[in-house]
Amino acid sequence: MTLDVRLRHRFAGFDLDVAFRSPGGVTALFGRSGCGKTSIVQAVAGLLRPDEGKITLADAQLLDTARRIEVPVHRRRMGYVFQEGRLFPHLSVRQNLLYGHWFTGGGTATELSRVVDLLGIAALLDRAPASLSGGEKQRVAIGRALLARPRLLLMDEPLAALDEARKAEILPYLEHLARESEVPILYVSHSLAEVARLAAHVVVLEAGRVVRAGPASAVLSDPLAAGTLGAAGSGALLEGIVLCHTVDGLTEVRIAAGTLLLPRLTAAPGSAVRLRISAEDVILSLQAPVGLSALNILPAEVLALEPAGPGRVLVQLQLGSDRLLASLTERSALALGLAPGEPCHVVLKSVALASSGDAPD
């Protein structure tokens, strides 16, 4: 289900002017706070009326200011998960979950039990929202949005109000949801770790404009998006398959360019995993290095060099069929004589697991 968004809106002191397309699955709207992410989601939900705009979901026209089409909020069927949950305080968890049932016909017994299982909230059903922890509230809020049979899930920083432990508690549920659900998700976040873990498609925003948009792996390894993402944030997102667990406590993961060794993962051999390599964790070498403690050394090819702040450059590399970014000082780039087309070796100081999935289908 494709979502097409074109918006123009004038706020006090800031203009929003964006156009992007989400092909389905999880699309992340990424950017610093105040860049207009929330306004976009509100406009899609119908809570904000933009000065000008056109929003289409599959073949349904939700908004077209030129043709004076504006579907009211309650008929848009957008499952909105707010940052602060917004559970109804006068209703029990069960009543909150079933609220949309009256209006959309969702929330049958089987749907309820499926969502309750997916989110692990069976024990909370008869509790009052005031007695729930932040993480529990957020899971109930996600369930409530799902049970209203939405055509699109809008998640506006659903984890931002939670501490790290609560985030870690919910992220697996979101991951599960992103994989299981047929409902496309528009996910707003300023956390690169969340985006890397969940999104298939990324729209990077800066001061009310779209600066980059495309598949997650391409956007995160795009040196031109590094300004917004930050050197630590940009890098690469690689898909891999767990090969085996070694006797000395490591896990071998196959990626397009070869095999990587990671600290022992819980995922079973054959599982698909998503790896993130920060641009700051990549070292370049012209010859195949010997006598290094690093375990992961792979051949690559320089694609492009982009200046990135005073004295630094970002090097875009081709690693098998994947793209990788390396952050270097200008001095080392000159000393190595790096140029597009140049073969080299990458030494990966650390490879982080972005997300782990089930066995590939």
Partner: protein, 233 residues
Amino acid sequence: MQLEWLSAEEWQAVVLSLRVAFWATLVSLPLGIGVALALARGRFPGRQLLNGLVHLPLILPPVVTGYLLLLTFGRRAPLGSFLYDTFGVVFAFRWTGAALAAGVMAFPLMVRAIRLSIEAVDPKLEQAAATLGASRVWVFVTVTLPLILPGIIVGAILAFAKAMGEFGATITFVSSIPGETQTMSLAVYTLLQVPGGDAAAFRLVLVSLVLSISALLLSEVVAQRVARRISGR
């Protein structure tokens, strides 16, 4: 049931007061909710004018309010004769007029209490309800109304207590006719004008005290209980 220590006339005044206050509160409640909503949420020209108009009975001398009611709803007044000709409704010198006067005098208190509770409702909850498929009417019925219930109850009980004790506007508008418009306050006043009426007046004053204090306590208890229930604690 008739209490031994109240005479038939005194008992009649008590019952009439209760009836007048009951109807005054019941009929003005939907209007009060509507006006409180308009004042709390509405963005329309004349909002300040409406606000002033609602508060007028609180500021004007009650005699003036009663006289204005007479000018508007009297049998020969334009609105009064229209109501009589089309619906057969008479206010002047009837208990219904006493209820109207009491309702008008109590209206500002009711609206203020309800308005405060509406302003305390987080519009974000109403937005959430809308995204879940609820139209504006349903949002109001399923979210706003339950959340402002404590305010409605407090407003209604305050209005009831005020209506029970209304004097100036009532005596000006519908006079003090025993059995028809002579409520407790009016009866106390009348009794104090006649020699030897002190004892009867004192009994009515006692009844009035008990009713008023009970109303106040009741409003506190009910509002607290409802508030606890809707906040889910």
